[in-house]
């Protein structure tokens, strides 16, 4: 049955050093509060899995929490580079990492295959590209019925999936709406799942639209108000495009990034305290 925990305790319980962690949310509902908590607890040697690393993984990479990144588009959406990801890839800062690179279709299929209990995903991708040369996990098989060449990659089976959603009810059923990316697939593919939510209400269902993930598929629900910032939660608050733009400046140089993270995030009491500090200094 779903447990209700403080985010600090949920992260302590499930995010272990060296584990593989999928944190999904396609531009919308990115679980930033959970990412910040992992940084506060200085959990290291993680394998990070996300289609678009975004600021959440840029922060984890820059703080040295990751040994490996599995991804398919590593930019700052609408802005440009993710400088901490680039620095790790180009210069091994703060340490050398392993990179497993995919295209979006492959990542989406790998999560869906994991959710379906399949060892691998079968699709038509990467044809003619150079990705199979640099990622040995991309393989091709022959369709036993038509003879057509098909692409296969291993399913994603992360140790932990973390997502953010609008609401959960008191039984732990999770409700979300808007752009839903691969969050449901990530939760179902993972051995354990943590869902952070804006609020906990009496009851949720699909009668007013949206999607429900039933309580028996979710390990932990944590209340994390504003927990997607600088991403957004439809119906609660908008994306902070301004912060995405400022992030370029904050993250460009490693030393400045570390100082900034210590000053605003690492030493904050919780996510809302971190946001209050950002607001006070005009970042929001």
């Amino acid at each position: 049955m779903t447990e209700f925990l403080e985010l600090t305790d949920a992260v302590k319980k499930f995010v272990k050093p060296g584990c593989s962690l999928a944190a999904e949310g396609f531009t919308h509902l990115i679980p930033h509060a959970a990412g910040a908590e992992i940084i506060r607890q200085r959990i290291g040697h993680l394998t990070l899995i996300r289609m678009t690393p975004d600021i959440i993984f840029d922060q984890l990479i820059g703080m040295g929490c990751a040994d490996k990144l599995v991804f398919s588009w590593g930019g700052n959406p609408g802005v440009g580079s993710l400088f901490r990801l680039r620095d790790a890839y180009e210069n091994g800062v703060p340490h050398e990492m392993e990179f497993e690179e995919h295209a979006h279709a492959a990542m989406a299929n790998a999560f869906a295959a994991g959710a379906a209990g399949m060892p691998c995903a079968v699709f038509k991708g990467y044809r003619g590209t150079q990705y199979p040369e640099v990622n040995p996990k991309i393989k091709f098989i022959e369709c036993p019925f038509t003879g057509e060449e098909l692409t296969v990659i291993p399913a994603h089976r992360p140790d932990v999936a973390i997502i953010h959603a609008q609401r959960a009810d008191r039984q732990g059923n999770v409700w979300m709406t808007g752009i839903l990316g691969v969050q449901k697939e990530a939760v179902l593919a993972a051995a354990h799942s943590i869902v952070t939510v804006e609020e906990i209400v009496d009851e949720v269902d699909e009668g007013s639209g949206g999607t429900v993930i039933p309580r028996w598929a979710v390990d932990v629900v944590c209340e994390a108000r504003l927990g997607a910032f600088p991403s957004y939660t439809e119906g609660y608050y908008d994306r902070s495009n301004a912060f995405y733009q400022k992030w370029g400046e904050v993250s460009r140089e490693y030393d400045r990034f570390r100082e900034w993270m210590e000053h605003y995030l690492v030493t904050s009491d919780d996510f809302v305290h971190y946001l209050a500090r950002l607001k006070e200094d005009g970042y929001v």
């Binding site: 979006h104 044809r127 752009i179 839903l180 910032f229």
Partner: protein, 267 residues
């Protein structure tokens, strides 16, 4: 009345928007493609179906989105589907007519690199990577490529093949067993290039007003072929420019109002 003045980038976006059909179904990335598609919808193609890879089908944003997953896109969409559904049913299933792509490098067969500059394992510049591009290029019925034309971008050899255009020629693409017909046009700030109907090699077919063929040749690292009947693009009209200039991303967010002050009423 004097002719309207405009930038090379505006010319490029306007030229791209004109290539969209009145009832096109178009898969859009952020940046110039998003501008071109939104311009087309507000100008000549009100029934244009715009699809962003975040899963929004038939979206009608009133302001330009900054990211492909902006709330503006889901709020104005006919339907919002999951990302696996987007890529498997709608894209791989062959329902999307036109794909828009950009890149950091392009070669003479309109193959694209958006992965690295330099060696893959020790690059000079690590670029964002593939995103949806390889499958957009494979499964949309046609693709349109938007790029500024200069020798650093229009290269003899790609540093990495992220996305296939005509591969090593039209016939070699056909051997890949992808249903899409591949790039139909490359729209630049100087003109328009189109794959030769036989070989698939890019040929300069249009020059924008005020641009010489020599300038386009000089901005290309391979010996650029020029069509015998080289056409001139029409200048952007007043209304095209007005619509385009009114397309600005939303900078506003209500988030600041929701964050309590330090020491204030927290939770």
């Amino acid at each position: 009345m004097s002719e309207p003045s405009y930038s090379p980038e505006e010319m490029m976006v306007v030229a791209a928007s004109r290539l969209l059909d009145v009832d096109d179904v178009v898969f859009i990335g952020i940046g110039l493609p998003s501008k071109a598609a939104n311009l087309a919808r507000k100008n000549h193609a009100p029934d244009l179906s715009m699809i962003y890879e975040s899963g929004t089908l038939d979206t009608k944003p009133t302001v330009l989105p900054l990211s492909i997953g902006d709330p503006e896109l889901s709020r104005t969409a006919k339907a919002v589907v999951s990302v696996p559904e987007m890529f498997n049913y709608w894209l791989q299933g062959g329902w999307i007519r036109t794909g828009f792509l950009g890149a950091a490098q392009i070669d003479r067969f309109a193959n694209l690199n958006s992965t690295v500059i330099g060696d893959y394992h020790k690059p000079k510049v690590r670029l964002p990577g593939a995103g949806g591009a390889p499958e957009i290029a494979g499964f949309c019925h046609r693709t349109l490529v938007l790029l500024r034309q200069n020798p650093r971008t229009f290269v003899e050899k790609l540093d990495f093949m992220t996305t296939v255009g005509m591969l090593r020629g039209r016939r070699s693409r056909q051997g890949l067993n992808v249903p899409g017909h591949g790039p139909q046009a490359v729209i630049t700030d100087l003109g328009i290039l189109e794959p030769d109907s036989e070989s698939g090699e890019l040929v300069l077919t249009h020059l924008h007003p005020g641009v010489s063929a020599e300038a386009a040749i000089g901005a290309t690292s391979w010996p650029l072929r020029v069509a015998e009947s080289l056409a001139r693009t029409n200048e952007p009209s007043r209304s095209e420019l007005d619509i385009l200039r009114a397309l600005v991303p939303s900078e506003e967010s209500n988030i600041a109002r929701l964050i309590p002050a330090i020491g204030g009423a927290g939770r």
